[in-house]
């Protein structure tokens, strides 16, 4: 198997290396890819949409359909992970571990024993014993608000700098995942519940498709944001810019929710009681 694989890889590689002879030189300004369609986008994007970042303009406006279905693919991946892994029957753990906070002693309570109330004095910990990490918890508590704020900046400022819905959504999700790692999965689930997460998943896709349908109702083509000008109170060009922002917010919400859903299900193998 190993030899066969190596032979296949070598044959494939040499064929492709042979194919590179006909490629245009690397970084050639007059290569076919840079001379047909892209000059149109570069020269008219600013004029058409008032968005200096051409990537954002092409992503959400000229190629709006593409991005809409990419968002749907991500939503479908979140759903697939949920249906593959999620298990709802609760299994009562044999041993509950509690930590007495002032002394740091770990209490081991067998099934049927009296369980202390989850309060500031007692903290429930995962069945794989975790050390008490005050420094990590405090640092992450201080850091996470700034991470989330930066994510909102990335979404809102995607018109003028690198960034946009995908990146901002992933950073939002990463902030919540950092909270779930530094504390535990139950603490993160108390902040963002699974049901709320599922609603956010669909809400993101709904905002995107809803914007398109709204354009349709205003009498223009699907996802032609210039039709939103009377609603937004601006001229058609600025309306396209604002339409891109609305769509990016939808993408950001959907991506954030899917990242959190993937992490919740993968880190707990579908039980969602104890995480990483």
């Amino acid at each position: 198997m190993k030899k066969l694989g190596l032979i296949i890889v070598l044959i494939c590689g040499s064929l492709m290396l042979y194919g590179t002879i006909d490629f245009p030189d690397w970084a050639d300004p007059s290569s076919p890819a840079s001379t047909h369609l892209s000059p149109y986008f570069i020269e008219t994007a600013m004029h058409d949409t008032a968005v200096p970042n051409i990537v954002t303009a092409v992503l959400a406006d000229y190629r709006g359909y593409d991005t809409m279905f990419e968002t749907t693919v991500i939503f479908a991946a979140g759903l697939a992970c949920f249906f593959l892994l999620r298990r709802f029957q609760r299994r009562a753990p044999d041993v509950n571990l509690f930590r007495h906070m002032p002394t740091g002693i770990t209490l081991r309570i067998k099934k049927g024993g009296k369980v202390p109330v989850d309060s500031s004095e007692f903290e429930r910990i995962d069945s794989i014993w975790v050390p008490y990490d005050l420094i990590i918890k405090t640092t992450c508590r201080l850091l996470i608000p700034f991470i989330l704020l930066f994510a909102l900046y990335v979404i809102a400022h995607g018109h003028h700098s690198p960034g946009g819905g995908f990146q901002g959504g992933v950073i939002l999700g990463a902030g919540i995942i950092l909270y779930a790692i530094s504390h535990n999965l139950r603490a993160a689930k108390a902040r963002i519940k699974e049901r709320f997460d599922a609603y956010m998943c669909s809400a993101g896709v709904f905002i995107y498709v809803g914007t398109g349908v709204l354009c349709l109702l205003m009498g223009a083509n699907f996802l032609d944001y210039s039709a939103l000008a009377p609603l937004l109170g601006t001229d058609p060009i600025m309306a396209r810019s604002h339409g891109i922002l609305i769509v990016e917010i939808g993408v950001g919400i959907a991506v954030m929710a899917v990242m959190i859903c993937l992490y919740y299900n993968l880190s707990s193998a579908g039980r969602q009681d104890e995480g990483l």
């Binding site: 190993k2 066969l4 694989g5 190596l6 296949i8 890889v9 070598l10 494939c12 590689g13 492709m16 290396l17 590179t20 002879i21 490629f23 030189d25 690397w26 970084a27 050639d28 300004p29 290569s31 890819a33 840079s34 369609l37 892209s38 986008f41 570069i42 020269e43 600013m46 004029h47 008032a50 200096p52 970042n53 051409i54 990537v55 092409v58 992503l59 593409d66 991005t67 990419e70 693919v73 991500i74 479908a76 991946a77 979140g78 697939a80 992970c81 593959l84 892994l85 003028h160 700098s161 690198p162 995908f166 992933v170 899917v258 990242m259 993937l262 299900n265 993968l266 193998a269 579908g270």
Partner: protein, 131 residues
């Protein structure tokens, strides 16, 4: 001699992308462990994305964000000054979709582990044959 040097400089990037792609393909075919196969799949994906992004590069051009100030909305933009943004757009969505496929692949690997209690391909095959 000079011709060969310029040929190598023009093409060596593509050769390294193909090497990367073949590393991913080799891992997908030969490796026995499912997580290793998923890593190979991701290396393959990133090699293709790298190839697409490198198509868009232009010598002497800058990043595709148009220089603008307040009040000068109408100054001329030349296509040769900016890198081709189209491959970036296509690949940006491809990266986010790749993390979604990674999530589904890992979910399937977890499901396989739950059933057969191993991630090694040959052990899974022997367990299937024994049934």
């Amino acid at each position: 001699m000079n011709e060969i040097a310029s040929f190598i400089i023009a093409k060596y990037n593509y050769w390294i992308y193909i090497v990367l792609m073949m590393i991913g393909l080799y891992a997908m075919i030969v490796k026995n462990n499912l997580v290793k196969k998923i890593i190979g799949m991701n290396i393959f994906q990133t090699a293709i994305i790298l190839f697409y992004v490198s198509i868009g590069t232009k010598r002497g051009a800058t990043i595709p964000i148009i220089y603008h100030g307040h009040g000068d909305g109408s100054h001329a933009v030349h296509a040769t000054d900016y890198i081709n943004p189209l491959p970036h757009v296509l690949m940006l969505t491809a990266i986010v979709v790749s993390v979604a496929t990674l999530g589904v692949a890992l979910a399937i690997a977890l499901k396989v582990y739950r059933r057969y209690n191993t991630l090694e391909e040959d052990e899974i095959f022997t367990q299937i044959r024994r049934k």
